[in-house]
Symmetry: C2
Subunit: 208 residues, 2 copies
Amino acid sequence: MTEHTPTPALVTEHPERIPGYTYGTAQAAVSPLTLEDLDRLKAAVWLTADDEEALREAAEILADQADDMVTAYRARLGLQPWLGGYSGHPDGTPNPGYGAATKPRFDRWIIDACTRPLDRDWLNYQHEIGLRHTRARKNTTDHADSLDHIPMRYLLAFTAVVIATAPTYLAAKGASAEHVRRMHSAFTKSVMLHVTVWTRPYVDAANW
Amino acid sequence: MTEHTPTPALVTEHPERIPGYTYGTAQAAVSPLTLEDLDRLKAAVWLTADDEEALREAAEILADQADDMVTAYRARLGLQPWLGGYSGHPDGTPNPGYGAATKPRFDRWIIDACTRPLDRDWLNYQHEIGLRHTRARKNTTDHADSLDHIPMRYLLAFTAVVIATAPTYLAAKGASAEHVRRMHSAFTKSVMLHVTVWTRPYVDAANW
């Protein structure tokens, strides 16, 4: 897939100008979760005040690497031809326009995962992201010609790549091994919190 | 909850004697997944031959710490009273007998996650573990008086704790920082592979 590197300033300074990025707006979905649900999930991943501080530090280090991280994720995904139809056309052939449209939002997610307060806007936009992986809303934001549903198992499994590759990026600016460990632990918890909430649209309320 | 430390030899040397541990037997569930499904999930988490080697090394380091790891996980879970009914009695009061019954299997899972070949027996027993978290089979193995279903969101969210706390245990025997990083990366991928497969009973086949 051709990758169009977005203007860094778009992702870091003016996310509100990213097409389809509806964080904090009325265009985002309304999450069925309560703030108490969120507090309990935050406790379940064990995200502490120290982790939140470490995430802010990670954001400084990752911001100008976010686009490279997503490029690397996609290179890995590109080696799995059975996944091609989810990011490409339904027959798996490349769909560079779709890839270019989603990339600034994916880049921005990395920054958001380290910086956004966990509040009602967070809940709503994470629900929106979840919906955009499923038949409910996949492809609609970008009017894309692509398969209309990403199986939940691949969403979960790929989380391992996001978590396991993070130390290289966290270490890229010279942080000490202990500092990288601390930021990586916080990043792991944040990623799992996000991905957990993204699974809500896949599962009956009584099971989720 | 009172924790009864199991005999280490039971967990490490004679797992077949652990009550309710049906790995590799006809008593385990039959997974609906194919070996091709498994190969694709293994690719999705990016578990490489080098990771499998690192997992064998991790197993040597973790084997006699597995029980302590599970004790620590449960201490963390014990701080979340809204989870009490899943491991305790339905009203959340402690159920030490149930905790003691499940602990050797949980301990053994840590060793298995580092050592078991990814084959049909693996698929079947992971499906069994998934079912034992849900209304299909929770409580039946141990005839336990407890809530009959663990919401999927807590299963996923708690994965963050298992992954984020692993470096301390991996470093406990003096491995270098780079060796710990390598084993931690492999462990992360293995844990996500397991947890992904455990979610199968929670989700309709068309969504999973």
